[in-house]
Homo-oligomer: 277 residues x 2
């Protein structure tokens, strides 16, 4: 898709600041998750470590996206000096959006891995779920890419539709098959798991909506700005908030599994029967 | 708001050095808090970890603010070579103040989180306080932004007034509701908590005062310099000093909760009856 040639000052600042916000969020979440990783029982640490890798990979990509964006445009001062009236695309530089797809190709399978890992399901069940989810997620990202780079409506619609098939299959596995497998989870974990899935659905839903902007005739500077803001906010929620929820589930399950751990970590064990046992 | 076009040598140096001071403080506080995090009982570590994330995020933003400021101006040598007489804004670069708002959007909710987390209140009370404080703080920052970027007085006053509503609500929750919830805290913690709240009120008060400068007709280079210095000092107090106070409260509470921990951490246990027991 061709880059937008001119952005107003406000449009440029909005994209610039939201990219920086995403970078800061990803970096801080990475450090936080690594620092608190040992505050859950060993069996849940892999899920927290993988969550930190997702935000680390995303921090790297946002660093690249931020630099690519700020290098691609130059301020144009038509009136008072010191006040940019607009920002113009520099000939021969270009803003690289490919980073986003590379990021998703790495992080989306890892997000599905951490979702399954935190449940500590029996090995056979976990393995079967991962063999369904991970190939489907790779297929979803790969099929979306040809549609993203074309400006034409027909191929965009076809690749978008093809990419939707594995997306729907992932939802089926998460909402139907995973529910059966996760029936035996403690009550609070059941609620958090439901929250996790809805967060995934809500944030992943932003990507196809942004993808379809050009099909609705939204393809100028405004559409570009909304897409960047939408992708960035969705990424922060889908990776940082998601990772923190994974950590919360790991904490709740650690305390549920081991009342002694709960007694050390909190003033009391979660329920009085347990602490008196 | 347009950037200031010319700064005297002294004005430029003052802003440059105070931004660097803030960056150094944020970075060092982050490392310190992470290093000493395990010197409190496990139940208080989340508050110390989140305090470190606040200063980490702020360190990132001060790094960006510092670079943005020093890239935006060029030294003008009118007299003796090697002596800058003034600093002029470079055409087409600009100093980005948006970083401050992005920083507050992330750190202010986290500051409120650490304040509640360090008290180790019952889960239901903690959750209820956080559900009041965090949305209010996000609203406060978001409503302040349109007023910050405009140079006109009327919209500035309206957005400022709207932003004040959630600010007053936060103060009400912290000074009234939190007091009730924190009644059972040990004596020293009660005093430290009072200190924490007054620090928060005093430092957060700097932001609306700086915000109102242009309404008092203060809008030249001097006002810019005072605003940068005011924001930076307020940030150092509100984040570094605040984080260190959180750590102190966590230490006091750890020793109060667990005399054995106190005996290891200090030469004597806090009270003689306890050490003789």
């Amino acid at each position: 898709m061709p880059n937008v040639e001119v952005l107003t000052n406000g449009q440029f600042q909005a994209v610039y600041n939201v990219l920086s916000l995403a970078l800061a969020s990803m970096g801080a979440t990475t450090v936080f998750l690594l620092v608190v990783m040992n505050r859950v029982l060993p069996r849940y640490r892999i899920a927290v470590a993988v969550s930190a890798m997702v935000t680390l990979i995303a921090a790297y990509h946002y660093f690249r996206i931020f630099n690519s964006f700020s290098d691609a445009y130059v301020a144009v001062e038509a009136g008072a000096p010191g006040v940019a009236d607009s920002f113009a695309l520099i000939q021969g530089v270009g803003f690289n959006e490919g980073y986003r797809y590379v990021d998703w190709l790495l992080t989306v399978p890892l997000l599905l891995f951490e979702t399954i890992a935190v449940l500590a399901l029996p090995a056979a069940v976990r393995s079967s779920l991962l063999w369904k989810l991970i190939p489907a997620s790779v297929l979803m990202i790969v099929l979306g890419w040809p549609g993203e780079i074309t400006a034409e409506i027909a191929p965009k619609a076809i690749w978008g539709a093809l990419s939707t098939i594995p997306f729907l299959y992932i939802l089926y596995v998460l909402f139907v098959e995973l529910s059966k497998a996760a029936k035996t989870q403690p009550n609070q974990v059941g609620k958090d798991l439901a929250g996790l899935r809805w967060l995934l659905l809500a944030t992943w839903g932003v990507y196809p909506i942004s993808y379809m902007f050009p099909m609705f005739g939204l393809d100028g500077a405004d559409s570009f700005v909304y897409r960047q803001i939408g992708y960035s906010i969705a990424d922060v929620l889908a990776k940082c908030l998601f990772g923190l929820l994974i950590y919360k589930i790991a904490r709740v399950k650690s305390m549920y599994d081991d009342p002694q751990f709960a007694a050390v970590e909190m003033k009391e064990a979660p329920s009085s029967e347990k602490s008196s046992a």
